[in-house]
């Protein structure tokens, strides 16, 4: 894999710096120290920093467009410090871009299938990747040239569909095509627990920020809640509008493609697709169902106002009080912004290509979206500089 693309200006920041907000209420992210370039803070007597901007979805624009090679991208993750963004690719590699210098580094040689999901350990120094080869790989994320530190082969029988780390970063949860949820030590890669109960492939997983529970969503549209102390299933939420068995095409389709828990732990959102009139032909609509995390009661069903085709591949509750969803499908790529009280989005941002995943920067303004056209685009929810 080659070094930074010639088209990237090495001296210019990949993403224009943005002052940060506190990140404590965002799940699975460590507090942000500073994302501003060093040269901007090196003055002898710095002036008082301007107040951090708040996220303003209606002002969203593409702040950075990162591309290296031509392999479609499937997954992405900011490191907890906000210095880097990583993307899993269909050429079995991971791309890393340094946000304050546009430098690209390829992480290769550990996966022999597509890299579907990324997560960070408690230190924020170790990146863990999960692939369609069923393999988990630990990487020294911030090294000049990261190399694999640990490989757990056959972590799942078949594809790994999603991985995520607990709020304290010590436990890794993984899900896959073997219908299982597995818990691992991020410290030493030891298998801690196997949670069985799904009757179909498990697509997504998310930790509750405080109660020691875990949520996992499967192809059949069921979201299970697990108590980690007892390793027991404690509830099952019905998101079956996200699933369909098509009797004409003889296929199962849909499932919970994205899952997230609100920062206060009150809500769980499951995203995917619905109204699949032609699953084999990509004719289906995006949908998000929001549940009460304790009772499992449906709080809202979100659909796109214009009814375009797509599926929700990434979801995050933003501390500013809205739900952010990334859609990709026949209608193109979109970022959709929902208030829980309203079924339709209050704002939609068109992306240049189909979204495959989504992550929120610790500054709470920047949204990374990996896309089929090999670009990782970073959308900023703030006014574009003049």
């Amino acid at each position: 894999m080659s070094e930074p693309a010639a088209t990237e200006a090495a001296a210019a920041p990949a993403v224009p710096p943005a002052p940060t907000e506190p990140a404590a209420s965002v799940e699975n992210t460590a507090p942000v120290e500073n994302t501003a370039p060093a040269e901007n803070t090196a003055a002898a007597e710095p002036a008082a920093p301007p107040p951090p901007p708040t996220a303003d979805p209606a002002q969203t624009y593409i702040a950075a467009d990162l591309v290296e090679g031509n392999s479609p991208l499937l997954s992405c993750k900011f490191d907890p410090s906000g210095r880097f963004v990583f993307a899993g690719a269909q050429d079995n590699s991971i791309r890393r871009w340094q946000l304050d210098g546009a430098k690209h580094t390829a992480l290769t040689g550990a996966h022999d299938s597509w890299v579907r999901s990324l997560a960070f350990d408690a230190t924020g120094e170790l990146l863990i990747s999960g692939g369609y080869d069923g393999r988990l790989v630990w990487w020294a994320a911030t090294d000049e040239q990261p190399t694999p530190l640990r490989i757990v082969d056959r972590a799942h029988d078949g594809w790994i569909r999603a991985i995520t780390t607990s709020p304290d970063g010590k436990t890794l949860a993984t899900v896959g095509n073997d219908n299982l949820v597995k818990l691992w030590s991020t410290l030493d890669g030891r298998l801690l627990q196997v949670l069985a109960g799904h009757t179909g492939r498990v697509y997504t997983v998310a930790f509750h920020p405080s109660t020691g529970t875990l949520f996992s969503g499967d192809i059949k549209g069921f979201v299970k809640r697990w108590d980690l102390a007892t390793a027991k299933e404690t509830a099952q939420f019905d998101a079956t509008p996200l699933w369909k068995y098509d009797g004409g095409q003889f296929v199962d389709f849909g499932g919970v493609r994205s899952l997230t828990v609100s920062g206060d732990g009150a809500l769980v959102a499951a995203g995917g697709t619905t109204d699949a009139s032609n699953p084999l032909g990509a004719v289906h609509k995006p949908i998000v169902i929001v549940f009460d995390a304790n009772t499992g009661e449906k709080q809202q069903t979100h659909r796109a106002k214009e009814g375009f085709d797509g599926s929700i591949w990434g979801l995050r509750f933003h501390p500013a009080g809205f739900l952010l969803a990334a859609s990709g499908g026949g209608g193109g790529g979109k970022l959709l912004f929902f208030h829980t009280a309203e079924p339709n989005e209050f704002f939609k941002f068109d992306l240049p290509a189909l979204a495959r995943d989504m992550d929120l920067h610790p500054n709470l303004l920047d949204v990374a979206v990996p896309m089929h056209d090999a670009h990782l685009r970073i959308a900023r929810m703030a006014a574009k500089p003049a």
Partner: protein
């Protein structure tokens, strides 16, 4: 008639227009056939000899277009390879997709033809080519392989249909267009959902005595009519009644629940598993041509998820069927053909799908008359073109016929007009024949 395929591309709309053209031509051709005795071999003695050998054909049809890259011709690590890996098989040096681990253990009983190019990306036309060995031609309609087999391989006066098609879903009955000029007697009988032929149980309201009396009257009237107006159609009509009566007596033949429960478990608790077990039962009981369809591989969207699901079913049931036919001594008399209407594009589209691709894909053969345990032909490093020993649908059709002992250069006599059994512009793939 609306195309039932999923993707509803412009290609399908074109196919429908062509279909309408074909249908018109077929009606005209059929009129000629029906005005004369049934189409027959120019050399009937050769046909009689072949029929006595009791060769059979099993076709497993993967409807919609199986991806060769996720099955018989994987290209892992390339830009087109997709997420699945290749695994070794029981034949050293031959690798197939990791989605087919049980089939890999049967590879010594199979041969992969990896250089298929039919130059066609339309469902209807591709299906026609792969069933008839002919490029669609509005001036003539040709019989399916199953109908040719029923005509040329079945024992004379066999009460069983010579061509049985087991499909997923519902439906059933006779698909007379399959037989083209051979006539409806050799058309496929469809077992929708693997259910026995429709209306093969005498209604409770009709007593046995009343039924016998009714049939006797029908025969008298029919004989009277036939003395002056005997045609292929009336003959087929009479034969169909007789066949139906025999079918009613042998209805249990179609009841897959008569097979041991342990066998049903080995084939898998899904429709395709039951249908493959039914195929075994039918072949063992002398049906000449059995086609089992599995749907749906038309994966323009999420190709890899859908192949994971479909091939999971296929692998278990198919590999069990191959092993059983071999273990039961039927492999030496049964030709296996695994095909589709085309393959799927090497390029992966933005929906993680693959589209129609008739340019470089694979067909699998097994059983009698073909060399087993290898791969014939090859595609290039990422599967975008055939690089070695390219073959087309006509050559494959010749090869199927030759493998079961038929001379594919023979002709049918249709109203005095000789019609070649297979496209005379091509011949069999001799290197493949045992």
């Amino acid at each position: 008639m609306k195309c039932t395929y999923a993707c509803q591309t412009a290609e399908h709309l074109v196919a429908r227009r062509r279909f309408l053209g074909l249908a018109g031509a077929s009606a005209m051709a059929g009129a000629g056939v029906l005005a004369s005795p049934l189409g027959a071999f120019v050399r009937p003695a050769a046909a009689a000899e072949l029929q006595s050998k009791q060769k059979r054909i099993l076709m497993v049809y993967l409807a919609g277009g199986l991806s060769q890259l996720e099955s018989w011709d994987p290209k892992p690590g390339t830009d087109t390879g997709g997420p699945f890996r290749a695994i070794p098989t029981s034949v050293p040096g031959i690798h197939i997709s990791e989605l087919l681990p049980q089939t890999a253990r049967q590879m010594h009983r199979l041969t992969i033809v990896r250089g298929v190019n039919i130059n066609e990306n339309d469902h209807g036309r591709g299906s026609y080519i792969m069933h008839t060995g002919r490029v669609p031609d509005p001036s003539n309609e040709y019989p399916h392989l199953g109908s040719v087999a029923a005509r040329c391989l079945s024992v004379e006066n066999d009460p069983l249909p010579g061509y049985i098609h087991i499909t997923p879903g519902g439906g059933g009955g006779l698909s007379s267009s399959d037989a083209a000029f051979l006539g409806p007697r050799y058309a496929s009988v469809t077992l929708g959902g693997g259910q026995p032929p429709q209306n093969t149980v005498r209604p409770d309201a009709v007593t046995e005595a009343a039924d016998l009396s009714r049939q006797a009257m029908r025969r008298r009237v029919n004989d009277h009519f036939a003395r002056r107006r005997r045609t292929a159609e009336t003959e087929a009509y009479t034969q169909t009644y007789d066949q139906a009566a025999e079918l009613m007596k042998r209805r249990e033949l179609f009841d897959v629940t008569k097979e041991p429960a342990t066998d049903a478990e080995r084939y898998g608790s899904h429709d395709f598993g039951r249908h493959c077990l039914l195929a075994r039962r039918l072949l063992e009981n002398g049906v000449t041509f059995v086609k089992v369809s599995h749907s749906n591989y038309d994966t323009h969207n999420e190709n890899f998820d859908f192949h994971l699901e479909q091939l999971g079913e296929f692998d278990q049931a198919f590999s069990t069927l191959v092993a059983d036919l071999a273990d039961r001594g039927l492999w030496d008399s049964t030709l296996l053909v695994v095909n589709s209407e085309f393959g799927r594009t090497p390029g992966i589209n933005q929906y993680c799908g693959r589209d129609h691709w008739g340019t470089a894909w694979s067909v699998v053969l097994g059983g009698t008359g073909v060399k087993l345990g290898g791969a014939y032909g090859a595609t290039n490093h990422n599967g975008t073109e055939v690089k070695d020993r390219q073959v087309n649908g006509a050559q494959l059709f010749h090869t199927y016929l030759q493998a079961v002992g038929l001379d594919s250069t023979e002709t049918f006599d249709v109203s005095g007009r000789p019609l070649p059994m297979a496209d005379p512009a091509f011949g069999p793939i001799k290197e493949l024949l045992a």
